[in-house]
């Protein structure tokens, strides 16, 4: 596009009081060769906007608007087909750095700041292009659902009801999962008081007769290759070995020699091939694979299996009549409740909900509110089978029936054969055929003993992903979801606000694979995951990103001629969007990409960029910052580059502006998509042009990371540590480059963070590179 520039400075909201707008217009645009410059008292007003509209009508297609933050008036200053660069003169200059220069001051710091920002905006506008959406060569809307339990069947039915074709793949020989094996199930609806007949049969029938749903039983996913909108999926029988089984990365212990040193790339490559002998490389597509647009992962859970000797005080593994809740359910589904040891009726049953004796009140591993509810449900079975003299005892530390499921607990309390008490079960002993359960600190007394025919442990639900990747992704980063160890192998989201977000675009977990859920919860979760799958295929088809940069049409572009095959982009991408080939050249999968720019930040050759955000656009902004030297002033002011995450730190700075908080004027702020996209070249350039320091402001990292792109701030901090070493070799103090964490609501602290850093740089003194 042939750019025709328009350059506008707003005088409103106090900008004029702090900045000499006339001087700004005279100094900067001319320097940059621009002539179409205008000012107005308020460009957001009807009259002001009219000026912009007129210019656009007359052919202006690149607008640089020096006014408020781009986070406000976003709709007013939107001109389709035009590049609009907003220069934040209000929140970042006028509201945080006033008042204007007083008479007698040698330097007008605020004016210099405004000039820099305007120059930076103008240069950036010249460097960026309007994005064009990425179009897949092949595209399908079909949804793959992994797992044929209640969650999987519901996901398929809901997606089908919205018009999308689905395939359910189920490992077992039939649909239904655990739901088909229960005697009764927990209530699905209000008033949540009584047990219901299992509904798995109904769902199976609905799935089987729905023309939009295909069912593959006795089948598992061998590999999922490709990207959202165009996944190629290979299926196989369970336990079968096929060439399209996904290759696994070398385990860490096989990557190093005896001394612990990592092998050379060639040796590693050979070891990898040996390790995966008989398996096709991830970049070889299965010609017989089926095409899918997105995936719902509903592979569910398995019962927790206590290890040998685990819960010995409860007699598990020692006494035949001590069973888990899953074993009990199986017995109950078959017929009347009896003792496994001799088949005689089990009329007195004790349910133990917490294994920690009187030392710890935690529930069993992988337990949840489902285990509490199931204990109540199973206690009712005993009463159903032996209404006259059956007795159930539940010892719990905390009865966890949250929300409206409290009604089920209350209904259970009405049953006089059901005894419920807080209590720490200390031992289970056996005399003859009778078990004796001892509990302490109960509501019935400091220590009680209950004779039981059967003891049931309320053990938890282990997600299927604890044992197996299930999704078997043909991704260079490996076949499994990454970092789910944080969630005890549940495929959960770390984001409270965005529960469907994972590190694998287009694959959405639902049901008990992400968190132990009741059937009711699993079913709504299934509908949610189905929606996300549909949304992902529709976004892929439109060529736009999904969350969190929803609608973004840019995608990373690679200049492969200069790629040195270092593989950093492939390894660092938080979403596994890149697969390198055998030489190490990355193969992008744009619809897996979330557009964070981490690849751009990682690339030492600087060959990755986006249409409107790239090494050159930001690098040129850095270079547009004027660094005053002793040629200009006796005591030249410092210049410090501040790269801020636009998701959290930038809004925090805006809020500081709204609160009219002042901070040091020697900094220059550049927003970035994510700290992960920060390429160290920008910092090196800044320092080598004489800037005195650089600071990165971004999100918290660690286990409770707040980075919307998962790893951005963490990767940036690793890179900044490395740059410290490089600085040392330049005889620059490593303290000149720092990264600070700022949460979005810490706008009250942001000025202090900035001022403290400026003070540290002042203490170090000006950069020795100034003026070179």
């Amino acid at each position: 596009m042939q750019k025709k520039f328009g350059f506008y400075i707003c005088e409103g909201c106090g900008i004029k009081d702090v900045i000499d707008v006339k001087a700004l217009l005279e100094n900067v645009p001319e320097e940059e060769g621009h002539s179409n410059c205008k000012t107005h008292a308020a460009f957001c007003s009807k009259e002001g906007l009219e000026i912009l509209k007129k210019d656009v009508a007359s052919g202006v297609n690149t607008l640089i608007i020096g006014a408020c933050s781009r986070r406000v008036n976003y709709d007013i200053f939107r001109f389709p087909g035009c590049i609009v660069e907003r220069v934040n003169l209000r929140e970042q200059v006028a509201w945080t750095h006033g008042p204007a220069k007083k008479e007698g001051d040698e330097i007008d710091h605020v004016q210099m700041m405004a000039e820099d920002y305007v120059r930076m905006g103008m240069i950036k506008a010249g460097k960026i292009a309007l994005p064009e959406p990425y179009k897949l060569d092949a595209f399908t809307r079909k949804v793959l659902v992994i797992g044929g339990g209640v969650t999987g069947m519901t996901a398929a039915l809901e997606a089908a009801a919205a018009g999308y074709e689905c395939t359910i793949v189920e490992k077992a020989g039939r649909l239904g999962g655990w739901a088909a094996e229960v005697r009764k199930q927990l209530p699905l609806d209000w008033p949540y008081e009584s047990l219901q007949a299992p509904m798995a049969g109904d769902l199976i029938a609905k799935c089987e007769k729905n023309p939009k749903i295909k069912v593959k039983t006795n089948t598992v996913v061998a590999r999922i290759a490709g990207q959202p909108g165009d996944f190629t999926v290979s299926f196989k029988k369970p336990d079968e070995k096929i060439p399209f089984d996904v290759p696994f990365p070398l385990p860490p212990e096989m990557r190093v020699d005896e001394s612990g040193k990592e092998y050379d790339p060639d040796v590693l490559r050979q070891k990898y091939l040996d390790y995966n002998q008989g398996r096709e490389d991830i970049l070889t597509f299965d010609p017989n694979g089926e095409k899918f647009g997105a995936v719902v992962l509903a592979a569910g859970w398995r019962p927790y299996e206590p290890a040998e000797g685990e819960f010995a005080h409860l007699g598990f593994g020692k006494f035949a009549d001590v069973v888990t809740n899953a074993q009990f359910e199986k017995m109950a589904a078959k017929g009347k409740i009896t003792r496994p040891s001799d088949g005689l009726p089990a009329k007195s049953v004790v349910f133990v909900q917490s294994p920690g004796k009187d030392e710890d009140d935690s529930d069993f591993p992988y337990a949840s509110s489902v285990t509490s509810l199931v204990a109540l449900k199973q206690a009712k079975y005993v009463r159903e089978d032996y209404p006259e003299d059956g007795k159930s005892f539940i010892f719990y530390q905390h009865m966890r029936t949250p929300g409206l499921t409290e009604n089920f607990y209350k209904a259970a309390q009405q049953d006089e054969g059901l005894f419920l008490s807080k209590g720490a079960v200390t031992t289970v002993a056996q005399t003859g055929k009778t078990l004796t359960v001892t509990a302490k600190d109960t509501l019935l007394g400091p220590e009680v003993e209950v004779k039981a025919d059967l003891v049931v442990l309320a053990t938890g639900m282990v997600p299927a992903t604890k044992d197996d990747p299930i999704v078997n992704l043909a991704y260079r980063q490996g076949p499994a979801f990454r970092d789910i160890g944080l969630f005890d192998s549940y495929v959960d989201s770390n984001f409270i606000c965005f529960p469907y977000e994972t590190q694998r675009t287009g694959i959405y977990a639902a049901g008990s694979i992400r968190r132990a859920m009741t059937m009711e919860e699993s079913m709504t979760d299934a509908a949610g995951a189905a929606l996300k799958a549909i949304q992902c295929v529709e976004s892929a088809n439109r060529g736009v990103a999904v969350h969190p940069r929803s609608g973004d049409m840019t995608f990373p572009d690679f200049f492969f001629q200069r790629c040195t095959q270092c593989k950093r982009c492939t390894e660092e991408c938080p979403f596994g969007a890149l697969d390198d080939d055998e030489r190490g050249t990355p193969k992008p999968n744009p619809t897996r990409c979330r557009r964070c720019g981490t690849c751009m930040g990682s690339c030492p050759e600087r060959i990755i960029g986006f249409a409107d955000y790239n090494i050159d656009s930001i690098g040129s902004m850095v270079k547009a910052i004027k660094v005053p030297s002793t040629d200009d002033f006796d005591e030249p002011p410092l210049r410090i580059l501040v790269l801020v995450c636009e998701n959290d730190a930038y809004p925090a700075l805006d809020m500081a502006g709204f609160s009219k908080l002042n901070y040091n004027h020697q900094i220059r702020i550049i927003p970035v998509r994510c700290l992960g996209s920060v390429n160290v070249i920008w910092i090196k350039d800044a320092l080598s042009q004489g800037m005195d320091g650089a600071m990165l402001l971004g999100c918290k990292h660690g286990d409770d990371y707040q980075c919307h792109f998962v790893k951005g701030s963490e990767l940036a901090s690793i890179r900044m540590n490395k740059i410290g070493e490089a600085l040392k070799s330049l005889a620059l103090e490593k303290e000149r480059v720092v990264q600070k964490e700022v949460a979005i609501d810490e706008y009250d602290k942001v000025p202090q963070i900035i001022n403290d850093f400026v003070a540290e740089i002042e203490a170090l003194g000006p950069s020795p590179f100034k003026g070179f």
């Binding site: 009801a161 409290e406 919860e521 979005i744």
Partner: protein, 426 residues
């Protein structure tokens, strides 16, 4: 070969009533599939209850972080139209074809507002700040909270017709103040409606034995959120209301109104985790302050919540007592409160004197108080019952049941799909 298969044909718009986290989620998830969505919010800003929270449990991260992303998604999506200070007054029609009437109350500030704040500076009237539960005051021309979206001031109807209104109008350089703004009624035809009307904190003054409203140093859990927030009345300093002193001891009364046949018979889902989170707030400011938590059951289910609970179990200054609080007594000289409870395990009567009490009040569905103008079914307590067979209208999040933010968002995403199904089956 491309396996091109036509997307389901769908037509019509979706209305989302309520702009809290569930409403935002439902609206955005549907809009990002490609459908037109109207958000109708009765307050002047979006974000709902979560915007009043300091942090979420168990991550202890600020809700504004996710709201910022959601607001950006709205800004970037022309499929979404937002109506604030708007209430649905009438719904007629059938699934797929509803005619809705929406009343928009005057904000007295128009689109010209640049949020420069001159109006607030000029105003001389102070009104109770409802966002902070009346713990401080705000000017009659105000921004509801620093990150409010839309970022536009509001003028309290209280000053209309007064000298202060004139001052406010004169202070605005951008012609944004319209004192003669009238309520407006608009009609929107929509195909399906998501009711994400959310919840309100249960009125603690109704729980007579817990002394709220009588004793200054008894606050609710939602007030605690505002006290802990950097944008709250104390700028994040948790101090007791009577004398602004840092508390050395705090009691948390769980199930304040919840699990109680006289008040809310159900469990409000979030209060146990919320109180644990409050202990975390206190720990950060006052490492040695004593926290006493009186509970019936500590509902921290699942690995993630159980881990969060574990963090506090070993804290010698946090004491967990299984026992329902029977009464509270104020020491009028010091403002201290004695909490009286019976330990359910030992039977021992406990009288614990503390500087400050936090009532873990529960959530009441908004529909319990204000009847919704549509053909919906409700539980006895005012939660909306979803009728999927009928379709057309769906309750999302806490309008349907008490839930935490994660579950509300999952639920709302699912309801967005149900709403889309109605569009497809038109």
């Amino acid at each position: 070969m491309t396996q091109e298969q036509g997307a389901a044909r769908a037509s019509g718009s979706i209305m989302v009533v309520g702009g809290g986290i569930s409403g935002l989620t439902a609206a955005l998830e549907a809009a990002e599939v490609g459908h037109e969505v109207f958000i109708v919010e009765k307050l002047p800003y979006l974000g709902g209850r979560v915007s009043q929270l300091n942090n979420y449990f168990p991550k202890l991260c600020p809700p504004t972080c996710g709201l910022e992303i959601n607001f950006r998604r709205i800004k970037d999506n022309p499929n979404i139209k937002v109506f604030t200070m708007a209430e649905v007054t009438k719904v007629t029609g059938t699934p797929g074809n509803y005619e809705t009437t929406v009343k928009i109350s005057p904000r007295y500030v128009n689109d010209n507002c640049t949020a420069c704040g001159d109006c607030a500076k000029a105003s001389q009237t102070e009104i109770p700040n409802e966002f902070n539960f009346g713990m401080d005051k705000t000017k009659a021309a105000y921004l509801p909270y620093p990150m409010a979206f839309p970022l536009r001031y509001v003028i309290s109807p209280q000053v209309i017709g007064t000298e202060d209104a004139k001052r406010i109008k004169e202070a605005c350089k951008y012609n944004a103040v319209e004192l003669d703004m009238e309520p407006k009624t608009i009609k929107l035809p929509v195909a399906s409606i998501i009711w994400a009307t959310g919840w309100q904190p249960y009125d603690a003054t109704k729980i007579d034995n817990l002394g709220f409203g009588r004793h200054k140093n008894i606050i609710t859990n939602m007030m605690m959120e505002r006290l802990a927030s950097p944008s709250g009345p104390t700028k994040g300093n948790i101090v007791r209301p009577s004398d602004q002193k840092a508390p050395e001891s705090i009691a948390f009364v769980q199930c304040a109104g919840s699990r109680d046949e006289n008040h809310l018979p159900y469990c409000s889902y979030i209060c146990c985790m919320a109180s644990l989170k409050h202990v975390a707030y206190i720990r950060e400011l006052y490492p040695k302050a004593k926290c006493h938590i009186f509970y019936i059951d500590l509902r921290a289910p699942g690995n993630r919540y159980e881990k969060f609970y574990k963090k506090f179990k070993d804290d010698p200054n946090t004491v967990f007592i299984k026992g329902k609080v029977a009464e509270v007594l104020e020491d009028t000289a010091t403002g201290d409160i004695t909490v009286v409870a019976e330990n359910a395990v030992t039977g021992e009567k406990i009288s614990q004197k503390v500087n400050m009490v936090v009532l873990a009040t529960g959530m009441e569905p908004s529909a319990a108080e204000t009847k919704l103008p549509a053909d919906l079914k409700f539980t006895d307590d005012g939660f909306i019952l979803n009728d999927y067979a009928k379709g057309g209208m769906f309750a999302a999040g806490c309008a349907a049941k008490p839930a935490d933010v994660v579950s509300s968002n999952q639920h709302a995403t699912g309801m967005a799909l149900h709403a889309i199904q109605t569009l497809v089956n038109r």
